[in-house]
Every structure is written in structure tokens, then in C-alpha cells.
Amino acid sequence: MQFGRSVKVESAIPPGSMVVLVFLLLVFFMATTIFKLEEGLAVDLPRAESGVRVPRERVTHVWMNARGEITIDDRFLNPEQISSILTQKMRENPQLLVGLNLDATLPYDRVDDLLVRLREANAVNVSFTNQVEQGS
């Protein structure tokens, strides 16, 4: 007994649905993308060649401009407040990396005082943020 061949169904993606797919992707990315807006302070970062890329997801930035003003998460702080803020952040994430965005012209004693505050908060993983200098 011979069986008749089943009817072949053409397999093709209808191009009409491409529009829907692309827009769906666009809407998905637009809806899920979060832009982290941290303004920071206007600082002129020092230049260096040996800086490495910093994993932004585990970085908290500390900004200090040429006038010695300090911000963390866009909040202006006194030097005395830094330890308590960073202690709190360290409790939430012990792997925290502190990115120091410090003005190149700052006198070093200000930087040294800041490093002491970081050590008080046990925030010992530090990254001195720099501008990339092209190798000579």
C-alpha cells in the first residue's frame, strides 16, 4: 500500500513580522536601559599610561575638585563624613572599589587625608582614576 506524500508546507518567515520584531527589541532595550546619571564635579584628571579599565559596576566614585570640595553620589560632604558613608557602602558590598576622581592640581596632603578616611572605613580597594595618555 502506498502512502501519498504529505503536502509540503513552505517554511519562510514572513517579512512583515520583522518590523514588529525590531520594534519589540527597540522598545525592550528602551524600557530596560537605566542611565546612571552621576554628575560628579569638574575635575582635571591626571594623565597616566598604566591605568587599566575599571569595572564600573562595583565602583563608588569619590570626587574632589581643585577647591577641595568632596562629593559621593553627588552629595557634598565634609571630610569627616566620608568614613561613615563608605563604611555603610562597604557593609552593603564588601568588594567595593573606590574610584578616586581627584583633580590633578590638588595638594597631596588633601589626598593623603582622604586615603586615611578610606582606610578608616576599610575601603582599601582603590582606583586612582586617570585620563589615558597615549604611549610615547
Binding site: 527597540l26 591626571p46 594623565r47 593623603d112 586615603l115 582603590v126
Partner: protein
């Protein structure tokens, strides 16, 4: 007089076939023009405040001082910044236990310390310390 029949015009509409092209064009444009901001930094691990101080033999320490006037001293000798990397490499080749102590004057600019740290890192020094110069 016979009536002239108007040709029946189809209602005007925008062709939807090109919508996919426009959407892809937009996607490709944004993919190719988007620049993700990257951050570069020199990572160091600071000593904890409760840590024990360890004694280091003086011959295993190389002091590099960044003075307020921009002069760099390796030991007691003033050197040009561009020569620091080579000097550190040479000393490291002689002594693999070497610890580089970067000391910066209180009133020196922060970038002087970064300049020295950059040279020390470029020389591949595995151990170094950062401190304020206290005379």
C-alpha cells in the same frame, strides 16, 4: 453630452514595506555611533588600619620622592621622570624583594604622585607603598 467617468483613485497610503528598512537603519546608526564611556584607573590596595607593621630591611626599600617643585628623587639623587621606570626595572632585576616607597611632599600636586606611580607600575613593581613625605 456623455458623462466622463472619473478614474477611481485608490486612497493614498504610505507603503509599510520600508518600515523595516527604516527601523534597521536606525538600529545600525545607533549601534555604530554609541560610545560607552570607559573609565581607566590605577588600582591599589591600601593597608588596613588594624594591620601589623612588618619590618623591612633597608636594602629592600627603594625610596622615590616627588618634591613640591616637581623634582623626583630616587634615593637621594634627583632624576628625570622618564628615567624612573628604567631605574626601578634595574633595581628590581638586582633584588626581587624590593619594595618601592613613593613619598610625596604635602604641598606637591597630586599629579606628581600619579606620575611616579605610573612609572613604578610601568616598571612592573609588584610591591610599593604610597605615603606623605615627612622630611
Amino acid at each position: 453630452m456623455p458623462k466622463i467617468k472619473r478614474p477611481s483613485n485608490p486612497p493614498p497610503e504610505i507603503s509599510q514595506a520600508s518600515t523595516a528598512d527604516i527601523a534597521f537603519l536606525l538600529l545600525i546608526f545607533f549601534i555604530s555611533t554609541t560610545v560607552f564611556e570607559q573609565e581607566f584607573g590605577m588600582q591599589v590596595v591600601l593597608p588596613g588600619l588594624g594591620g601589623k607593621a612588618t619590618k623591612v630591611r633597608p636594602e629592600n626599600v627603594l625610596k622615590i620622592r616627588a618634591a613640591a617643585d616637581g623634582t623626583i628623587f630616587v634615593g637621594d639623587a634627583p632624576v628625570a621622570l622618564r628615567n624612573v621606570e628604567g631605574m626601578v626595572e634595574t633595581r628590581l632585576a638586582e633584588n626581587d624583594q624590593l619594595i618601592i616607597s613613593i613619598e610625596t611632599d604635602s604641598d606637591a600636586a597630586y599629579e606628581r604622585m600619579i606620575d611616579v606611580l605610573d612609572e613604578v607600575k610601568a616598571a612592573g613593581a609588584p610591591r610599593f607603598s604610597i605615603k606623605r613625605y615627612r622630611g
